[in-house]
Amino acid sequence: MKYTDSGSKDTRSGFGAGLHELGKSNPNVVALCADLTGSLKMDAFKNDFPDRFFQTGIAEANMMGIAAGMTIGGKIPFTGTFANFSTGRVYDQIRQSIAYSGKNVKICASHAGLTLGEDGATHQILEDIGLMKMLPGMTVISPCDYNQTKAATIAIADYDGPVYLRFGRPKVANFTDPNEKFEIGKAQLLQEGKDVTIIANGHLVWKALQAADQLEAKGISAEVINIHTIKPLDDAAILKSVRKTGCVVTAEEHQMNGGLGDSVAQLLATSTPTPQEFVAVNDSFGESGTPDQLLEKYGLNEASIIAAAEKVMGRR
Protein backbone atom coordinates (compact mmCIF):
# COMPACT_ATOMS: atom_id res chain seq x y z
CA MET A 1 0.00 0.00 0.00
CA LYS A 2 1.11 3.49 -0.88
CA TYR A 3 0.33 5.07 2.49
CA THR A 4 1.66 3.98 5.85
CA ASP A 5 0.75 5.11 9.32
CA SER A 6 3.74 7.03 10.66
CA GLY A 7 2.38 6.69 14.20
CA SER A 8 -1.16 7.29 15.32
CA LYS A 9 -2.03 10.80 16.49
CA ASP A 10 -5.22 12.72 17.20
CA THR A 11 -6.32 15.33 14.68
CA ARG A 12 -7.04 17.80 17.49
CA SER A 13 -3.34 17.80 18.29
CA GLY A 14 -2.73 18.72 14.67
CA PHE A 15 -4.96 21.73 15.24
CA GLY A 16 -3.08 22.64 18.40
CA ALA A 17 0.27 22.38 16.64
CA GLY A 18 -0.94 24.43 13.68
CA LEU A 19 -2.37 27.10 15.96
CA HIS A 20 0.92 27.33 17.83
CA GLU A 21 2.77 27.77 14.53
CA LEU A 22 0.38 30.57 13.63
CA GLY A 23 1.03 32.21 16.98
CA LYS A 24 4.67 32.48 15.99
CA SER A 25 4.14 33.46 12.36
CA ASN A 26 1.06 35.70 12.34
CA PRO A 27 0.64 38.38 15.03
CA ASN A 28 -2.99 38.95 14.03
CA VAL A 29 -4.04 35.43 14.96
CA VAL A 30 -5.95 35.30 18.25
CA ALA A 31 -7.51 32.26 19.91
CA LEU A 32 -10.70 31.96 21.94
CA CYS A 33 -11.79 28.94 23.94
CA ALA A 34 -14.90 28.09 25.95
CA ASP A 35 -13.38 26.13 28.81
CA LEU A 36 -11.90 23.28 26.76
CA THR A 37 -8.31 24.42 26.33
CA GLY A 38 -6.83 21.03 27.14
CA SER A 39 -9.29 19.08 25.02
CA LEU A 40 -8.65 21.36 22.05
CA LYS A 41 -4.86 21.20 22.55
CA MET A 42 -4.67 25.00 22.74
CA ASP A 43 -2.33 25.07 25.75
CA ALA A 44 0.82 25.74 23.75
CA PHE A 45 -0.74 28.82 22.16
CA LYS A 46 -2.17 29.93 25.48
CA ASN A 47 1.16 29.59 27.27
CA ASP A 48 3.31 31.24 24.63
CA PHE A 49 0.89 33.96 23.52
CA PRO A 50 -1.20 34.76 26.61
CA ASP A 51 -2.11 38.25 25.40
CA ARG A 52 -3.73 36.76 22.31
CA PHE A 53 -5.60 33.98 24.11
CA PHE A 54 -9.15 34.67 25.30
CA GLN A 55 -10.81 32.29 27.74
CA THR A 56 -14.55 32.96 27.49
CA GLY A 57 -15.81 30.40 29.96
CA ILE A 58 -18.72 28.11 29.18
CA ALA A 59 -20.48 30.64 27.00
CA GLU A 60 -20.16 29.66 23.37
CA ALA A 61 -22.68 32.15 21.98
CA ASN A 62 -20.74 35.01 23.53
CA MET A 63 -17.48 33.52 22.22
CA MET A 64 -18.78 33.55 18.65
CA GLY A 65 -19.91 37.15 18.98
CA ILE A 66 -16.60 38.26 20.49
CA ALA A 67 -14.76 36.50 17.68
CA ALA A 68 -16.88 38.34 15.11
CA GLY A 69 -16.13 41.65 16.84
CA MET A 70 -12.40 41.01 17.00
CA THR A 71 -12.20 40.81 13.21
CA ILE A 72 -13.13 44.51 13.31
CA GLY A 73 -9.65 45.77 13.99
CA GLY A 74 -7.92 43.19 11.82
CA LYS A 75 -7.64 40.19 14.11
CA ILE A 76 -8.00 36.62 12.84
CA PRO A 77 -9.90 34.78 15.59
CA PHE A 78 -9.78 30.99 15.95
CA THR A 79 -12.53 29.69 18.22
CA GLY A 80 -12.11 26.35 19.92
CA THR A 81 -14.71 24.08 21.45
CA PHE A 82 -16.40 20.76 20.70
CA ALA A 83 -18.13 20.45 17.33
CA ASN A 84 -21.55 20.26 18.95
CA PHE A 85 -21.01 23.54 20.78
CA SER A 86 -19.31 25.08 17.73
CA THR A 87 -22.34 24.68 15.48
CA GLY A 88 -25.78 23.63 16.68
CA ARG A 89 -25.55 25.46 19.98
CA VAL A 90 -24.52 28.73 18.34
CA TYR A 91 -26.11 28.48 14.92
CA ASP A 92 -27.82 31.84 14.94
CA GLN A 93 -24.74 33.61 16.26
CA ILE A 94 -22.67 32.12 13.45
CA ARG A 95 -25.39 32.83 10.91
CA GLN A 96 -25.91 36.51 11.73
CA SER A 97 -22.72 37.77 13.36
CA ILE A 98 -20.21 35.72 11.33
CA ALA A 99 -21.56 34.33 8.05
CA TYR A 100 -24.05 37.03 7.03
CA SER A 101 -21.71 39.70 8.36
CA GLY A 102 -18.84 38.18 6.35
CA LYS A 103 -16.45 38.04 9.29
CA ASN A 104 -13.05 36.39 9.10
CA VAL A 105 -13.62 33.91 11.93
CA LYS A 106 -12.17 30.38 11.98
CA ILE A 107 -14.54 28.05 13.82
CA CYS A 108 -12.39 25.13 14.96
CA ALA A 109 -14.34 22.15 16.19
CA SER A 110 -13.05 19.06 17.92
CA HIS A 111 -14.66 15.83 19.11
CA ALA A 112 -16.85 15.64 16.02
CA GLY A 113 -18.81 12.53 15.16
CA LEU A 114 -19.20 9.12 16.73
CA THR A 115 -15.49 8.72 17.52
CA LEU A 116 -15.91 11.03 20.49
CA GLY A 117 -16.84 7.67 22.02
CA GLU A 118 -18.03 7.10 25.54
CA ASP A 119 -19.54 10.57 26.16
CA GLY A 120 -22.45 9.51 23.99
CA ALA A 121 -24.94 11.15 21.68
CA THR A 122 -25.29 14.50 23.48
CA HIS A 123 -21.77 15.30 22.34
CA GLN A 124 -21.52 13.22 19.15
CA ILE A 125 -22.72 15.75 16.64
CA LEU A 126 -23.34 14.21 13.23
CA GLU A 127 -25.11 17.21 11.71
CA ASP A 128 -22.42 19.89 11.90
CA ILE A 129 -21.18 19.74 8.33
CA GLY A 130 -24.72 20.05 7.05
CA LEU A 131 -25.44 23.01 9.30
CA MET A 132 -22.28 24.80 8.26
CA LYS A 133 -22.38 24.08 4.54
CA MET A 134 -25.88 25.54 4.28
CA LEU A 135 -24.59 28.95 5.34
CA PRO A 136 -23.78 31.14 2.31
CA GLY A 137 -20.10 32.00 2.16
CA MET A 138 -18.98 29.42 4.72
CA THR A 139 -15.98 27.25 3.86
CA VAL A 140 -16.23 23.76 5.39
CA ILE A 141 -13.16 21.57 5.95
CA SER A 142 -12.74 18.11 7.48
CA PRO A 143 -9.11 16.96 7.23
CA CYS A 144 -8.14 13.31 7.52
CA ASP A 145 -5.19 13.07 9.90
CA TYR A 146 -2.82 14.94 12.21
CA ASN A 147 -0.55 16.26 9.47
CA GLN A 148 -3.41 17.47 7.32
CA THR A 149 -5.25 19.09 10.24
CA LYS A 150 -2.10 20.99 11.16
CA ALA A 151 -1.61 22.11 7.56
CA ALA A 152 -5.26 23.09 7.21
CA THR A 153 -5.15 25.13 10.41
CA ILE A 154 -2.19 27.08 9.06
CA ALA A 155 -3.76 27.48 5.62
CA ILE A 156 -7.08 28.93 6.75
CA ALA A 157 -5.35 31.86 8.45
CA ASP A 158 -4.34 33.10 5.01
CA TYR A 159 -7.86 32.80 3.61
CA ASP A 160 -10.11 35.81 4.17
CA GLY A 161 -13.57 34.60 5.19
CA PRO A 162 -15.44 32.40 7.64
CA VAL A 163 -14.26 28.79 7.88
CA TYR A 164 -15.54 25.75 9.73
CA LEU A 165 -12.68 23.33 10.51
CA ARG A 166 -13.75 19.95 11.87
CA PHE A 167 -11.53 17.42 13.60
CA GLY A 168 -11.72 14.73 16.25
CA ARG A 169 -10.69 13.21 19.51
CA PRO A 170 -9.17 9.72 19.01
CA LYS A 171 -5.69 8.83 17.90
CA VAL A 172 -5.91 7.70 14.28
CA ALA A 173 -3.46 6.80 11.52
CA ASN A 174 -1.21 9.68 10.50
CA PHE A 175 -0.29 9.04 6.89
CA THR A 176 -0.27 12.20 4.77
CA ASP A 177 2.95 14.02 3.90
CA PRO A 178 3.82 16.41 6.75
CA ASN A 179 5.34 18.82 4.22
CA GLU A 180 2.34 18.96 1.92
CA LYS A 181 0.77 22.39 1.70
CA PHE A 182 -2.97 22.42 2.32
CA GLU A 183 -5.03 23.79 -0.55
CA ILE A 184 -8.58 24.76 0.40
CA GLY A 185 -11.07 23.27 -2.06
CA LYS A 186 -8.55 21.00 -3.77
CA ALA A 187 -9.28 17.27 -3.71
CA GLN A 188 -6.48 14.91 -2.83
CA LEU A 189 -6.24 11.89 -5.15
CA LEU A 190 -4.76 9.30 -2.82
CA GLN A 191 -4.97 6.20 -4.96
CA GLU A 192 -5.80 5.72 -8.62
CA GLY A 193 -8.23 3.03 -9.70
CA LYS A 194 -10.64 2.25 -12.49
CA ASP A 195 -13.58 0.23 -11.15
CA VAL A 196 -15.08 2.37 -8.40
CA THR A 197 -14.49 5.80 -6.87
CA ILE A 198 -14.40 6.05 -3.09
CA ILE A 199 -14.76 9.61 -1.83
CA ALA A 200 -14.13 10.11 1.87
CA ASN A 201 -13.15 12.71 4.42
CA GLY A 202 -12.06 12.93 8.04
CA HIS A 203 -11.46 9.68 9.86
CA LEU A 204 -13.05 7.69 7.04
CA VAL A 205 -10.21 8.43 4.61
CA TRP A 206 -7.86 5.93 6.26
CA LYS A 207 -10.71 3.41 6.37
CA ALA A 208 -11.24 3.98 2.65
CA LEU A 209 -7.58 3.27 1.91
CA GLN A 210 -7.80 0.07 3.96
CA ALA A 211 -10.95 -0.91 2.11
CA ALA A 212 -9.31 -0.23 -1.25
CA ASP A 213 -6.50 -2.55 -0.24
CA GLN A 214 -8.94 -5.33 0.51
CA LEU A 215 -10.89 -4.66 -2.68
CA GLU A 216 -7.66 -4.99 -4.64
CA ALA A 217 -7.21 -8.48 -3.19
CA LYS A 218 -10.63 -9.23 -4.66
CA GLY A 219 -9.56 -7.93 -8.03
CA ILE A 220 -11.39 -4.59 -7.75
CA SER A 221 -9.45 -1.42 -8.55
CA ALA A 222 -10.71 1.40 -6.35
CA GLU A 223 -9.84 5.04 -6.75
CA VAL A 224 -9.64 6.86 -3.40
CA ILE A 225 -10.16 10.60 -3.17
CA ASN A 226 -9.95 12.69 -0.02
CA ILE A 227 -12.43 15.53 -0.21
CA HIS A 228 -11.20 17.42 2.83
CA THR A 229 -13.07 20.54 1.71
CA ILE A 230 -16.79 19.89 1.54
CA LYS A 231 -17.42 23.46 0.52
CA PRO A 232 -16.34 24.67 -1.94
CA LEU A 233 -16.42 21.21 -3.50
CA ASP A 234 -13.75 20.21 -6.04
CA ASP A 235 -16.27 19.43 -8.78
CA ALA A 236 -13.66 18.79 -11.46
CA ALA A 237 -11.78 16.15 -9.48
CA ILE A 238 -14.97 14.27 -8.63
CA LEU A 239 -16.38 14.38 -12.15
CA LYS A 240 -13.08 13.27 -13.67
CA SER A 241 -12.99 10.22 -11.46
CA VAL A 242 -16.60 9.09 -11.80
CA ARG A 243 -16.48 9.50 -15.58
CA LYS A 244 -13.73 6.91 -15.46
CA THR A 245 -15.21 4.50 -12.91
CA GLY A 246 -18.93 5.05 -13.47
CA CYS A 247 -19.87 4.61 -9.82
CA VAL A 248 -19.07 6.15 -6.46
CA VAL A 249 -19.11 5.43 -2.74
CA THR A 250 -19.03 8.35 -0.31
CA ALA A 251 -17.83 7.71 3.24
CA GLU A 252 -18.02 10.09 6.17
CA GLU A 253 -18.54 10.28 9.92
CA HIS A 254 -21.73 12.33 9.62
CA GLN A 255 -25.43 12.02 8.93
CA MET A 256 -26.25 10.96 5.41
CA ASN A 257 -28.52 14.01 5.30
CA GLY A 258 -26.44 17.10 4.83
CA GLY A 259 -23.00 15.57 4.58
CA LEU A 260 -20.31 15.04 1.97
CA GLY A 261 -22.37 12.39 0.19
CA ASP A 262 -25.19 14.90 -0.21
CA SER A 263 -22.85 17.40 -1.84
CA VAL A 264 -21.45 14.77 -4.20
CA ALA A 265 -24.94 13.54 -5.14
CA GLN A 266 -26.07 17.07 -5.88
CA LEU A 267 -23.10 17.60 -8.15
CA LEU A 268 -23.56 14.30 -9.98
CA ALA A 269 -27.33 14.66 -10.36
CA THR A 270 -26.91 17.97 -12.12
CA SER A 271 -24.04 16.97 -14.41
CA THR A 272 -23.26 13.26 -14.61
CA PRO A 273 -25.95 11.08 -13.02
CA THR A 274 -24.01 8.22 -11.46
CA PRO A 275 -24.89 5.33 -9.15
CA GLN A 276 -23.84 6.25 -5.61
CA GLU A 277 -23.83 4.46 -2.26
CA PHE A 278 -23.55 6.30 1.04
CA VAL A 279 -21.46 5.18 3.98
CA ALA A 280 -22.78 7.50 6.68
CA VAL A 281 -25.05 7.51 9.70
CA ASN A 282 -28.60 6.93 8.56
CA ASP A 283 -30.91 9.30 10.43
CA SER A 284 -29.86 8.18 13.89
CA PHE A 285 -28.25 9.55 17.03
CA GLY A 286 -25.15 7.85 18.37
CA GLU A 287 -24.55 6.30 21.80
CA SER A 288 -21.79 5.48 24.27
CA GLY A 289 -19.08 3.01 23.29
CA THR A 290 -15.51 2.88 22.08
CA PRO A 291 -14.83 4.61 18.76
CA ASP A 292 -14.22 1.30 16.97
CA GLN A 293 -17.36 -0.27 18.40
CA LEU A 294 -19.40 2.71 17.30
CA LEU A 295 -17.94 2.84 13.80
CA GLU A 296 -18.76 -0.85 13.40
CA LYS A 297 -22.28 -0.60 14.84
CA TYR A 298 -23.20 2.41 12.72
CA GLY A 299 -21.63 1.00 9.57
CA LEU A 300 -18.70 3.36 9.13
CA ASN A 301 -15.81 0.91 8.76
CA GLU A 302 -13.84 -0.87 6.05
CA ALA A 303 -16.42 -3.66 5.75
CA SER A 304 -19.18 -1.13 5.08
CA ILE A 305 -17.12 0.62 2.43
CA ILE A 306 -16.28 -2.69 0.73
CA ALA A 307 -19.93 -3.78 0.75
CA ALA A 308 -21.00 -0.40 -0.64
CA ALA A 309 -18.37 -0.59 -3.39
CA GLU A 310 -19.47 -4.03 -4.50
CA LYS A 311 -23.11 -2.97 -4.42
CA VAL A 312 -22.62 0.21 -6.40
CA MET A 313 -20.53 -1.56 -9.04
CA GLY A 314 -23.50 -3.86 -9.58
CA ARG A 315 -25.75 -0.86 -10.22
CA ARG A 316 -23.71 0.56 -13.08
Binding site: G57, I66, A68, G69, G73, G74, S101
Partner: protein, 279 residues
Protein backbone atom coordinates in the same frame (compact mmCIF):
# COMPACT_ATOMS: atom_id res chain seq x y z
CA UNK B 1 -26.67 72.73 20.26
CA UNK B 2 -29.62 74.25 18.41
CA UNK B 3 -28.32 72.57 15.28
CA UNK B 4 -28.40 69.17 17.01
CA UNK B 5 -31.89 69.81 18.36
CA UNK B 6 -33.05 70.70 14.87
CA UNK B 7 -31.35 67.56 13.62
CA UNK B 8 -33.36 65.51 16.12
CA UNK B 9 -36.54 66.83 14.57
CA UNK B 10 -35.31 66.06 11.08
CA UNK B 11 -34.26 62.54 12.04
CA UNK B 12 -37.75 61.99 13.44
CA UNK B 13 -39.24 63.20 10.17
CA UNK B 14 -36.99 60.79 8.33
CA UNK B 15 -38.07 57.90 10.57
CA UNK B 16 -41.80 58.32 10.11
CA UNK B 17 -41.45 59.03 6.38
CA UNK B 18 -39.24 55.97 5.85
CA UNK B 19 -41.58 53.52 7.55
CA UNK B 20 -44.66 55.13 5.99
CA UNK B 21 -43.17 54.80 2.49
CA UNK B 22 -42.90 51.02 2.72
CA UNK B 23 -45.69 50.48 5.24
CA UNK B 24 -43.29 48.55 7.45
CA UNK B 25 -40.49 49.06 9.93
CA UNK B 26 -40.11 50.07 13.55
CA UNK B 27 -40.88 53.69 14.38
CA UNK B 28 -41.45 53.43 18.15
CA UNK B 29 -37.96 52.55 19.37
CA UNK B 30 -36.40 54.64 16.62
CA UNK B 31 -38.17 57.79 17.79
CA UNK B 32 -37.30 57.01 21.39
CA UNK B 33 -33.58 56.74 20.65
CA UNK B 34 -33.29 59.79 18.41
CA UNK B 35 -31.50 61.98 20.96
CA UNK B 36 -29.03 59.19 21.71
CA UNK B 37 -28.09 58.78 18.06
CA UNK B 38 -27.89 62.49 17.33
CA UNK B 39 -25.74 63.03 20.42
CA UNK B 40 -23.50 60.07 19.74
CA UNK B 41 -22.74 60.96 16.13
CA UNK B 42 -22.99 64.72 16.55
CA UNK B 43 -21.08 65.28 19.74
CA UNK B 44 -19.58 62.21 21.37
CA UNK B 45 -17.82 59.89 18.91
CA UNK B 46 -14.74 60.45 16.77
CA UNK B 47 -15.14 58.86 13.38
CA UNK B 48 -14.42 59.24 9.69
CA UNK B 49 -17.70 59.21 7.77
CA UNK B 50 -16.24 60.19 4.41
CA UNK B 51 -13.85 57.25 4.29
CA UNK B 52 -15.62 54.47 6.08
CA UNK B 53 -13.25 51.66 7.00
CA UNK B 54 -14.47 48.40 8.51
CA UNK B 55 -11.57 48.10 10.96
CA UNK B 56 -12.12 51.61 12.33
CA UNK B 57 -8.67 51.87 13.85
CA UNK B 58 -8.19 55.22 15.54
CA UNK B 59 -11.96 55.79 15.63
CA UNK B 60 -14.74 55.26 18.14
CA UNK B 61 -17.08 52.45 17.10
CA UNK B 62 -20.81 51.96 17.50
CA UNK B 63 -22.78 48.71 17.39
CA UNK B 64 -26.57 48.61 17.21
CA UNK B 65 -27.68 45.40 18.88
CA UNK B 66 -31.43 45.99 18.62
CA UNK B 67 -31.25 46.19 14.84
CA UNK B 68 -34.96 46.74 14.31
CA UNK B 69 -34.55 50.42 15.07
CA UNK B 70 -32.66 50.72 11.79
CA UNK B 71 -34.60 53.85 10.68
CA UNK B 72 -32.96 56.06 13.32
CA UNK B 73 -29.57 54.46 12.61
CA UNK B 74 -29.85 55.00 8.85
CA UNK B 75 -31.11 58.54 9.17
CA UNK B 76 -28.30 59.43 11.57
CA UNK B 77 -25.64 57.87 9.36
CA UNK B 78 -26.94 59.69 6.30
CA UNK B 79 -27.31 63.01 8.10
CA UNK B 80 -23.70 62.67 9.30
CA UNK B 81 -22.24 62.00 5.87
CA UNK B 82 -21.81 58.22 5.68
CA UNK B 83 -23.95 58.10 2.55
CA UNK B 84 -26.26 60.40 0.63
CA UNK B 85 -29.47 61.37 2.35
CA UNK B 86 -31.42 60.48 -0.81
CA UNK B 87 -30.60 56.83 -0.22
CA UNK B 88 -33.03 56.83 2.73
CA UNK B 89 -35.62 56.63 -0.01
CA UNK B 90 -34.58 53.01 -0.68
CA UNK B 91 -35.24 51.77 2.88
CA UNK B 92 -36.63 48.22 2.84
CA UNK B 93 -37.02 48.23 -0.94
CA UNK B 94 -35.59 45.66 -3.35
CA UNK B 95 -31.87 46.08 -4.25
CA UNK B 96 -31.30 48.49 -1.37
CA UNK B 97 -28.32 48.80 0.96
CA UNK B 98 -30.81 49.86 3.65
CA UNK B 99 -32.15 46.43 4.57
CA UNK B 100 -34.97 46.07 7.07
CA UNK B 101 -32.36 45.28 9.69
CA UNK B 102 -28.81 46.64 9.38
CA UNK B 103 -26.30 44.48 7.52
CA UNK B 104 -22.77 44.65 6.20
CA UNK B 105 -23.77 42.42 3.31
CA UNK B 106 -24.59 45.23 0.90
CA UNK B 107 -21.65 47.34 2.05
CA UNK B 108 -23.56 50.22 3.61
CA UNK B 109 -20.98 52.62 5.13
CA UNK B 110 -21.31 52.94 8.89
CA UNK B 111 -22.56 49.44 9.59
CA UNK B 112 -20.00 46.97 10.96
CA UNK B 113 -22.18 43.98 11.90
CA UNK B 114 -25.56 42.55 11.01
CA UNK B 115 -28.13 42.76 13.77
CA UNK B 116 -31.78 41.96 14.11
CA UNK B 117 -31.73 38.59 15.78
CA UNK B 118 -31.49 40.02 19.26
CA UNK B 119 -28.89 39.65 21.97
CA UNK B 120 -25.75 39.42 19.86
CA UNK B 121 -24.46 42.98 19.73
CA UNK B 122 -22.88 43.18 23.16
CA UNK B 123 -20.63 40.22 22.41
CA UNK B 124 -19.59 41.80 19.12
CA UNK B 125 -18.89 45.12 20.83
CA UNK B 126 -16.75 43.32 23.41
CA UNK B 127 -14.76 41.69 20.63
CA UNK B 128 -14.17 45.03 18.95
CA UNK B 129 -13.16 46.50 22.31
CA UNK B 130 -10.69 43.67 22.91
CA UNK B 131 -9.24 44.23 19.42
CA UNK B 132 -8.77 47.91 20.26
CA UNK B 133 -6.82 46.94 23.36
CA UNK B 134 -4.62 44.58 21.33
CA UNK B 135 -4.05 47.36 18.81
CA UNK B 136 -3.20 49.91 21.53
CA UNK B 137 -6.06 51.99 20.19
CA UNK B 138 -7.50 54.08 23.02
CA UNK B 139 -10.76 54.88 21.28
CA UNK B 140 -14.04 53.62 22.68
CA UNK B 141 -16.72 51.15 21.67
CA UNK B 142 -20.39 52.06 22.14
CA UNK B 143 -23.33 49.70 21.90
CA UNK B 144 -27.09 50.11 22.16
CA UNK B 145 -29.55 47.48 23.37
CA UNK B 146 -33.28 47.39 23.90
CA UNK B 147 -34.51 46.63 27.39
CA UNK B 148 -36.69 43.82 26.07
CA UNK B 149 -33.58 42.47 24.37
CA UNK B 150 -32.08 41.81 27.80
CA UNK B 151 -34.36 38.77 27.98
CA UNK B 152 -31.90 37.05 25.61
CA UNK B 153 -29.42 34.89 27.53
CA UNK B 154 -26.40 35.83 25.43
CA UNK B 155 -26.58 39.37 26.83
CA UNK B 156 -25.75 38.01 30.28
CA UNK B 157 -22.95 35.83 28.98
CA UNK B 158 -21.52 39.00 27.50
CA UNK B 159 -22.20 41.06 30.63
CA UNK B 160 -20.34 38.49 32.74
CA UNK B 161 -17.39 38.46 30.35
CA UNK B 162 -17.08 42.23 30.00
CA UNK B 163 -16.91 42.76 33.76
CA UNK B 164 -14.89 39.64 34.51
CA UNK B 165 -12.29 40.50 31.89
CA UNK B 166 -12.19 44.26 32.60
CA UNK B 167 -13.38 45.44 29.21
CA UNK B 168 -13.33 49.06 30.34
CA UNK B 169 -13.32 50.67 26.89
CA UNK B 170 -16.95 49.73 26.32
CA UNK B 171 -20.07 51.84 26.98
CA UNK B 172 -23.25 49.79 26.62
CA UNK B 173 -26.48 51.77 26.69
CA UNK B 174 -29.82 50.19 27.49
CA UNK B 175 -32.83 51.86 25.90
CA UNK B 176 -35.12 51.54 28.89
CA UNK B 177 -38.51 52.33 27.42
CA UNK B 178 -40.30 49.54 29.26
CA UNK B 179 -42.02 48.31 26.10
CA UNK B 180 -41.66 45.35 23.76
CA UNK B 181 -43.78 43.88 20.97
CA UNK B 182 -46.32 42.04 23.09
CA UNK B 183 -46.74 44.69 25.74
CA UNK B 184 -44.84 46.33 28.57
CA UNK B 185 -41.67 44.56 29.67
CA UNK B 186 -43.29 44.04 33.07
CA UNK B 187 -46.24 42.31 31.46
CA UNK B 188 -44.17 40.15 29.11
CA UNK B 189 -41.35 39.13 31.43
CA UNK B 190 -40.50 41.28 34.45
CA UNK B 191 -36.76 41.87 34.62
CA UNK B 192 -36.58 43.62 37.94
CA UNK B 193 -34.00 46.35 38.39
CA UNK B 194 -31.85 46.23 35.28
CA UNK B 195 -29.26 48.61 36.66
CA UNK B 196 -28.81 46.51 39.77
CA UNK B 197 -28.38 43.44 37.62
CA UNK B 198 -25.55 45.03 35.64
CA UNK B 199 -24.02 46.35 38.85
CA UNK B 200 -24.18 42.87 40.36
CA UNK B 201 -22.32 41.57 37.30
CA UNK B 202 -19.57 44.11 38.03
CA UNK B 203 -20.35 46.96 35.66
CA UNK B 204 -20.11 50.67 36.44
CA UNK B 205 -23.78 51.62 36.06
CA UNK B 206 -25.20 55.09 35.57
CA UNK B 207 -28.60 56.45 34.56
CA UNK B 208 -29.80 59.04 32.10
CA UNK B 209 -33.15 59.99 33.58
CA UNK B 210 -34.50 61.70 30.48
CA UNK B 211 -33.15 60.02 27.37
CA UNK B 212 -35.32 62.26 25.21
CA UNK B 213 -33.65 65.43 26.41
CA UNK B 214 -30.63 66.10 24.22
CA UNK B 215 -28.66 68.01 26.84
CA UNK B 216 -29.15 65.20 29.36
CA UNK B 217 -28.06 62.58 26.84
CA UNK B 218 -24.92 64.48 25.87
CA UNK B 219 -24.05 65.09 29.51
CA UNK B 220 -24.70 61.44 30.33
CA UNK B 221 -22.57 60.13 27.49
CA UNK B 222 -19.73 62.48 28.46
CA UNK B 223 -20.02 61.27 32.03
CA UNK B 224 -19.85 57.68 30.78
CA UNK B 225 -16.72 58.47 28.76
CA UNK B 226 -15.07 59.83 31.88
CA UNK B 227 -15.74 56.53 33.63
CA UNK B 228 -13.97 54.40 31.01
CA UNK B 229 -10.44 53.10 31.48
CA UNK B 230 -11.01 52.35 35.14
CA UNK B 231 -11.28 48.60 35.03
CA UNK B 232 -15.03 48.24 34.51
CA UNK B 233 -17.32 48.32 31.49
CA UNK B 234 -19.83 51.15 31.70
CA UNK B 235 -23.58 50.62 31.46
CA UNK B 236 -26.01 53.47 30.91
CA UNK B 237 -29.65 52.89 31.78
CA UNK B 238 -31.22 55.44 29.46
CA UNK B 239 -34.88 56.06 30.19
CA UNK B 240 -36.77 56.92 27.02
CA UNK B 241 -40.32 57.08 25.76
CA UNK B 242 -41.13 54.77 22.88
CA UNK B 243 -42.49 56.91 20.08
CA UNK B 244 -41.10 60.14 21.58
CA UNK B 245 -41.91 63.24 19.53
CA UNK B 246 -45.14 61.96 18.01
CA UNK B 247 -47.92 62.19 20.57
CA UNK B 248 -50.10 59.34 19.37
CA UNK B 249 -47.15 56.95 19.26
CA UNK B 250 -46.14 57.59 22.87
CA UNK B 251 -47.08 55.70 26.01
CA UNK B 252 -47.79 52.40 24.28
CA UNK B 253 -46.02 49.40 22.80
CA UNK B 254 -48.35 49.46 19.80
CA UNK B 255 -46.02 51.47 17.57
CA UNK B 256 -43.10 49.13 18.07
CA UNK B 257 -43.34 47.75 14.57
CA UNK B 258 -46.28 49.44 12.84
CA UNK B 259 -46.10 52.10 10.14
CA UNK B 260 -48.37 55.17 10.14
CA UNK B 261 -51.01 55.53 7.42
CA UNK B 262 -51.31 58.68 5.28
CA UNK B 263 -53.37 60.62 7.82
CA UNK B 264 -51.18 59.54 10.71
CA UNK B 265 -48.08 60.56 8.76
CA UNK B 266 -49.52 64.00 8.16
CA UNK B 267 -50.37 64.27 11.85
CA UNK B 268 -46.85 63.20 12.85
CA UNK B 269 -45.10 65.54 10.43
CA UNK B 270 -47.31 68.36 11.66
CA UNK B 271 -45.81 67.82 15.09
CA UNK B 272 -42.26 67.81 13.66
CA UNK B 273 -41.70 71.13 11.95
CA UNK B 274 -39.21 70.65 9.14
CA UNK B 275 -35.78 71.86 10.10
CA UNK B 276 -33.51 70.66 7.34
CA UNK B 277 -34.45 69.37 3.92
CA UNK B 278 -36.46 66.17 3.71
CA UNK B 279 -34.83 63.49 1.57
Amino acid sequence: MNDLKNLCTQVRRDIVRMVHAVNSGHPGGSLGCTEYFVALYGEIMEYNAANFDMDGKGEDLFFLSNGHISPVFYSTLARNGFFKVDELNTFRKIDSRLQGHPTTHEGLPGVRIASGSLGQGMSVAIGAAEAKKLNNDNHLVFSLHGDGELQEGQIWEAAMYAAGKNVDNLIATIDANGQQIDGSTDDVLPMGDIGQKFAAFGWDVMTIENGNDLDSVIAGLNEAKSRTGKGKPVCIIMKTEMGAGVDFMMGTHKWHGVAPNDDQLADALGQLSSTLTDY
